[in-house]
Symmetry: D3
Subunit: 323 residues, 6 copies
């Protein structure tokens, strides 16, 4: 420490400093590349080479890091203190050396995550566009198919489009084909909006995924969605992927493919909190595109959701907090 605080001599932790100070890491945690010192590693994936319309999610990790400084240490709703229960660290970015080739870029991402998983670190990722979830799954689901809770406006189980099968509207079709996902243990929540083809998301239903569209969500409420999600994924290893465009565009204007009429932030927070105790092996937050985000509200809401996902990952690994 350059400085020995007068009032807080024991608080070298940057989280004890005023929130507007210091270098922006995720939740003002320490940055490290030493995997042995980490339980939960938060990783930026600044890649948006898979988008089909508005680009810019490559700047998502920095924006979420910056806005995450508005969060404090303890989850006020659940009492969880993720930073006390686990060694949570910012692992920096899985940057891409060859971003101009989509498939090669995805391979680079997978290569980044393999040692992370091998070291026993639970990865929590911040995109980047949704195409990044495929290579992350290649690492975290390398040994067996996993279940998945997928909150999104789109099923992202499309096929070839604009000359590629690996764009951000297709990762989970590929993941099923590659044996990374068990579609019977996948639920997709928040689906809505216009489509290019009537059978665009048929793969989801045909493969056995549970699709909980937005109208059903609104009719039945967040608690029902929680129950459905728990029913579908059960006790098995489960990945959690959160596309910020599941939120209503009012709550998340800063994203590439907004769809009118989505979740509001309270619903999303409570949906996530309802998933406590599930066997999560990793998670991600994707599609925050800061250049479409005047006021940074999308990044702020994203950081708030990321904090809830972090708490889920901590509890999945270390159990609930002891009173």
């Amino acid at each position: 420490m350059l400085k020995t605080p007068k009032r807080y001599p024991d608080l070298a932790d940057p989280q004890a400093h005023p929130r507007y100070t210091g270098i922006s890491t995720f939740f003002r945690t320490g940055y490290t590349q030493d995997l042995a010192a980490v339980d939960i590693g938060i990783i930026g994936v600044p890649f948006d080479g898979g988008v089909t319309n508005r680009t810019g999610a490559r700047h998502g990790p920095r924006a979420v890091r910056d806005q995450s400084s508005l969060l404090r240490r303890i989850n006020g709703a659940t009492g969880i203190i993720p930073f006390a229960q686990a060694r949570v660290r910012d692992l920096g970015d899985a940057w891409i050396e060859e971003p101009y080739e989509l498939e090669a870029a995805l391979a680079e991402i997978a290569a980044f995550y393999h040692p992370v998983v091998a070291a026993g670190v639970t990865p929590l990722s911040v995109g980047g566009d949704h195409s990044i979830s495929l290579p992350i799954l290649r690492a975290v689901a390398a040994t067996r198919p996993v279940g998945m809770i997928h909150i999104d406006a789109h099923c992202d189980t499309g096929d070839d489009y604009l000359g590629s099968r690996f764009h951000h509207g297709a990762p989970f079709r590929r993941a099923v084909e590659e044996g990374l996902l068990d579609p019977k243990r996948v639920i997709q929540i928040g689906i809505r909006g216009t489509v290019n083809a009537g059978d665009m998301w048929d793969f989801s239903r045909d493969s056995g995924m549970r699709v909980l569209a937005m109208d059903e969500f609104q009719d039945r409420g967040w608690a029902y969605a929680v129950a459905e999600a728990r029913r579908i994924v059960g006790d098995g290893p489960t990945y959690l992927t959160y596309d910020i465009d599941s939120l209503d565009p009012v709550h998340a204007p800063g994203t590439g493919t907004p769809e009118a009429g989505g979740l509001n932030t309270i619903e999303a927070l409570r949906l996530l909190r309802g998933l406590r105790g599930l066997n999560f092996i990793g998670g991600d937050l994707v599609e925050v595109a800061p250049s479409f985000d005047p006021g940074n509200l999308t990044a702020f809401n994203g950081a708030s959701l990321l904090f809830e996902i972090l708490c889920l990952l901590v509890e999945a690994r270390f159990g609930p907090p002891t009173a």
Copy 2:
């Protein structure tokens, strides 16, 4: 076609191109002035000479055109493909030659719509301020009074103000007086906010309109509003007018006379979808004012609602889609 697509040789349709490409027309439909080739004509009315406070809705048509490119071809909630069921075209703008005189300007708008209606084209208009609905009604209701579903924060049945009886707070009082509307078949949904005079909207109730204020909407829900609307307008010819300020200012900041505490976008979408099968003879979306719309969210939400109205008009004319 200048270009023969390699992968999509059959797709000369601009809707098949990536959404960020091409000239901005409504929903990337073809632009034409040949009325014989059109079933549903989408028309911009860039006029805001009737506003009483913040101006700028003249720029609404371009903004909605631009944001409408984010929409795709098929209504994901209902399966309707408006562009497959009907010849939907962008007819350009009903521009005003003499915008400095309010009444003359309204007469010009009516003159634009008469041949459209005579040609059997169903008009779907994008304002402009709400004063434009009066001259449009003069064309579409020229032969008999029609019913109307009117979604708005204001009744717009005011009287003389600032030296005119034709400003954007008065069109529907004039329309009743001119015999264009049957007030018994008019419902106004979403009304709220402060008023200048206690009897400002008395004309609505006195003439027999059903006023469903925002508090009642919130208490009873969108499905109740749907039922009321269907009950009021019945089977007769009905016009649909959507003022974007019916939405909460959070969902539609870009408008001239916002009122706190309005509909959210999901409610609006479902309200509109609930009106399927009614006998709609035309519709409009008004009061999008882009210069108050950082981030273009109002225009995007407006385009999303416009798509639902388009689907209603297509179904009114050609029936539900055949599976």
Copy 3:
């Protein structure tokens, strides 16, 4: 009057002019410093020296004044005409001469309010950060403890932080300690978000305040919160303090310490309207920070809530409007 209006010769009142005209005072009321001519005095308190994170609420009064011009004269939901029932005036700002010392600044604010209260004027204040409520209470509760309805994302009953016990997260702990508040007659509504310490808000519960957290609010609804508030404060003298960050950040991005997942504007409006008839002796709206408010939506929503609070104060003093 410089000008004798042709059409409205009797309307010297600036509220009769088009809303985009004239000098910005609160709700376009007259500005005065003559306390004898005032029943309800609206006062700006441009002070943000108590913030713990993002600053800028010193510019709140001007922004709320400006946006308040979008409001009209009559409450459309309740029929109340505050300006007809009471002499409502803009008293200007309680500006601070020595803003660099937090405690001295708070003493200056109290000194401003003492003559206001002594003159029998009911003060309605616009901050500024929440630290200003303490000196206002020192004036309005000088003779006995009062009850309080407190709508906020935070309990603001913290203790020493960053070297002071008077920052904007602590005013109500100080107010209890100083005998200004009867904690048994205090309810705090909308509480949520992350915290720095698990016992951060323990003072609220330990002292007997009713804490109605956001999750409970969402589960039970605004009408329940109304009932609870009425039950807690009863008939005694009651202060109303409204922190704009109680709203969801989507509805109030322009504030210093946003917390995801809050009230929406409709809920807030109805909650306030539900409090009619209580014995309010003053109120405030705080934490509007315009430099974080692209589009001015926070100031507009704040002005809309301020209007409801104004109506409550008028009714508390002069009773309901006579039909």
Copy 4:
């Protein structure tokens, strides 16, 4: 005074308070309608019914009032203290009762200014669009033609367009025709941009005005423009009209008809300062359109130029400051 300042007991003047406090009047001067107490009256003219493209200048006066609070009391470059040398007051707005008829609206404006001029008050106006200068000239030049220094991107000497001869591109042709301007004593500085017709501004040259186009300004510099202006207007009574779109769009984005490649702010400030000692009888600043002004830079630069014009008017009337 509600408050007796401790440190500044003699400073009831709002200009002595911190600049972020208090109600927004022009330069924080007192607001009055008592013409007998005023030497220089600053008047808002919130009218934009004469624009030919982007509207919104009706909100200009409020925005300039607000930004003018960033200015202090003394001209640092010249030492002039306008508020000490003259009774400078904010006279409020010349609001329009019948804004929907362009010619009637202009007549209303003239009617507002006649008593101002009759009372011997020098008017300094803030638009509004440039059409307002015609009715102001009808008042200030009622008894004889005057000279004019006109800084603008456009000559505004056009003719009939969109059904009117009184839009904001034509006021000075009308003013010559009405005998209000002596074209030989008129200079137009900063002219540039595309035109609709090759002879669009021919009236300027044909009537004898000196047109100093932007390229000539850039080649010769601001000091040359000063010399030319002084040569043209001489000692006679002169009006000064400043269109904010004379500035480069970078310096004044918030305006309706921007033209690339204009003056920068330093050049404009020095040009104005170079006009000291001329016989100015009034002045205006027009075309600030706040809804196109993210960041309020146009209003701020406008307020800074307005301050220089104010100093010119004070010196024209009371002579240079005495050391």
Copy 5:
């Protein structure tokens, strides 16, 4: 024509309509795909797959089309009426079918331009990032090397970076290698900023290009740059490529790789006007990235420069206007 204008019956031309009306094409020209009817074709190239940092230029064509509606028909500085002297049309976008592979995408662009050039149409292109200039040169310089005036903050003569030789920092090195450019007839104006490697732009000087860095430009002025450009390119066929980041970031914030301290818009306009009479065979404006452009100033300035380039192309083909 749907509408027969009353006042302007002969004006079917959309350029005769008020500028805020109608569908956005470049300069409100007609849209066509019939190359035989076109002399100068303006083409959007919505591709940004070659950027090395901030992306989003794919949205450039729409933004420039929209802002170009603020321009009128005649160049006020030179009297040129491009639309009268030549058949100027909007050819729509050269959209990419396979955007995920950089080299394939560039090949698609070249394939689009070959028939344009073969039809004798002079192409004026709007990017997109600067990588698009290479495939355009492959078409316009297919038969012989051409000279080039290149206005930019960067030489764009880099080499392999991030796994590709075809990113937006390298097109002109490739163009020399492919024999499309005669480096002795190339001048690069406005070069500045930080670099990754000391020899990053050595290819420019080594190959014989004239590099006129920003400091030299500022020291010598725009007229000197004009003289140098004319000296270098001489009478031979010449391409004009304008990177918007040559402008100072204040004048062009909406771009991916801004560099502090660039040209201002006046300098750029006059530099371009100074190039009249050269033998231009095509031109482009690139790197407008609207999502970084609050207020749309970059697109507006870009449209203003594009108009000057259009005038240059018209004069190159049809000679100066006849008085």
Copy 6:
């Protein structure tokens, strides 16, 4: 390294990664608290408790860090590679424990800098408001008065205001009084704007400082200012303080006390580059207030100037680069 780059195996340096990746430190340098490993330490000072009007500079360090990632490694104009010539590191923030007391806060800042200076590290600081320069001078000038080149719109040599002598308009008067500055070796460049009192900046001239006001700067040019600065400070130890409000508000809207008509960025860059070889012992960049900076242009221009100051400090310590 978590990742071993394939193409760049030797580049562990974050500066070799794509600029949009990684955690935001100043110029993407390594973060350290080990003073022994540092030659030039860049330090954020997130304190704005000394402002007299618009606040928010506490967020300046993060914004400048973020925008500094747009810069590359080498000064293109001078060839200097600061990171190769010196060990440049980000030392994090000098955060304040007791921000509510201005004088105590300044003492904390001084306490942070004393060990930095003692360790032989040259400090380059990013504010924060200008009050921070006083405590920094207390550290760097602890042993003898130093000279200073001060670029600013204001002299900042004021006295007691709003109850304090330590606000951001007074640091250099205090510094002279404390013997930290030799006023004969101080030059202030860019001074302009309105003032509260005619003698507001008299201390500057009376104490012997050279005040080079903006008008003189514009008349004589940047090279003259360079010559004057070199003449005044001579060979002695010199501090460089750069207030971003010296720039024209167009170039630096994001600041608390803008003054119309300032330096443009090119002038500022060249002015700084002209100071090469002087005996600089430290420097700072202050008054970047991000919440007033839509588009982040102020932070970007600030980062660009900071890079030049960094180069000056490196050269002052290690001499010019060896070819």
